[in-house]
Amino acid sequence: MKEFEYLKPRDLNEALLFAREHGHRKRFLAGGTDLIVRLKDNLIREDYIIDIGEIEELRGIEKKNGEIHIGPITTHSEIIESEITKKYAPLLVEAVKTIGSPQIRNRGTIGGNICNASPAGDSIPALVVSEARFVVKSLNNERIIDIKDFFVGPGKTSLKQDEILYKIIIPEWKENEIGFFNKLGQRNAMSISIASVAVKLEREKDNKFKKAFVSFGAVSPVVNRATKCENLLTERELDSKDYIFEAANCALDEVNPITDVRATREYRREVSKYLLYESLLNLLGIGG
């Protein structure tokens, strides 16, 4: 494994001091499920590893003024088991359940999944359709970044070198909302998504929806909303398979995948469309 300097700040303030001091030569360590593998493979350039994995100010799940606040070092398992997220962030729970294995979910953190900024990070489409906001802190500043402005490329975020992700905020799930997260990987556990999709629909009446949120994962450099699909999903009542297919077919205009060891570009495009189509039929109880 690569040699590095290990720093363990006592609190958030000290973590931010270290972050400012070491700038681009530092990496934050939270759960380590991604970083430690990369340290072993000598893929990490940075010389300072700042362990934020036990800073209590960065952990926990709270319900506040109609929103759910999640600390970045909260593990996937903690999100799955929390009564708050189960009730008020069910889509995020559904997505996080598909990450890795029990062992990975016991160590891996939501903040790690976000800040690694992998287009295949499985929490990300769910956070995108939830219109998540991120509170980030530096020594002298605090700002809020909308999720649509947070990811700037594969593995790249708009976080500055001296900043840390401090809170993830999503609105509470409402009574008239339905949704799903669905992914295709190579095996059930431990698979990196070939393609994934998260959907949130806000019901107006029966199968007519006033708002639709659709986001595909692993099929674009940056996970975004698929606005063409969204527009079709609110335009009229979703009562026919043909119309839902037409909406899902818009996925082809929305995704821009790469070919890699897991799948080809063409396959990913087709999978995106059918993941959305079949999941929508399933969600709306329309026979397939």
Partner: protein, 155 residues
Amino acid sequence: MKTIKINFVLNGEEIIDEVPVNITLLDYLRDYLRLTGTKEGCGKGECGACTVIMNGRSVNSCMVLIPQVDGKNVLTIEGLSKNGITKIQKAFVEEGAIQCGFCTPGMVMSTYYLLSKNPHPNEEEIREGLSGNLCRCTGYKKIIEAVKRVSGGKK
């Protein structure tokens, strides 16, 4: 080489040591303490052969950096069977859930964790509970039977 002082509880006993910062818990268990019950398979969290329990949670010890262990409580397969073979291991033997045996310590630790959270899992929950552990011999069927046996799901 950068080193760090660590102090943690392993299988009920306190460990105080000074070790390089850039080794994993798995390296420490196997190469420093010669506790070789915990296996190294893939070394990247895919196979689960290195599974141990840390503060009540199953973890891949190949993905835990040794400084992260400071102050924690770790249970390995050696600690689990300190007072003789456990019910879980007995069920694995009785069901013939072992062929080469390399994955078995990890399977046993994952079963231990699963049952600590859910004492009577159904088959789907067992499969999910063991989804982070690969076995290249048994085809899993007998492993699942063993977990059913120990959790009372099988007469």
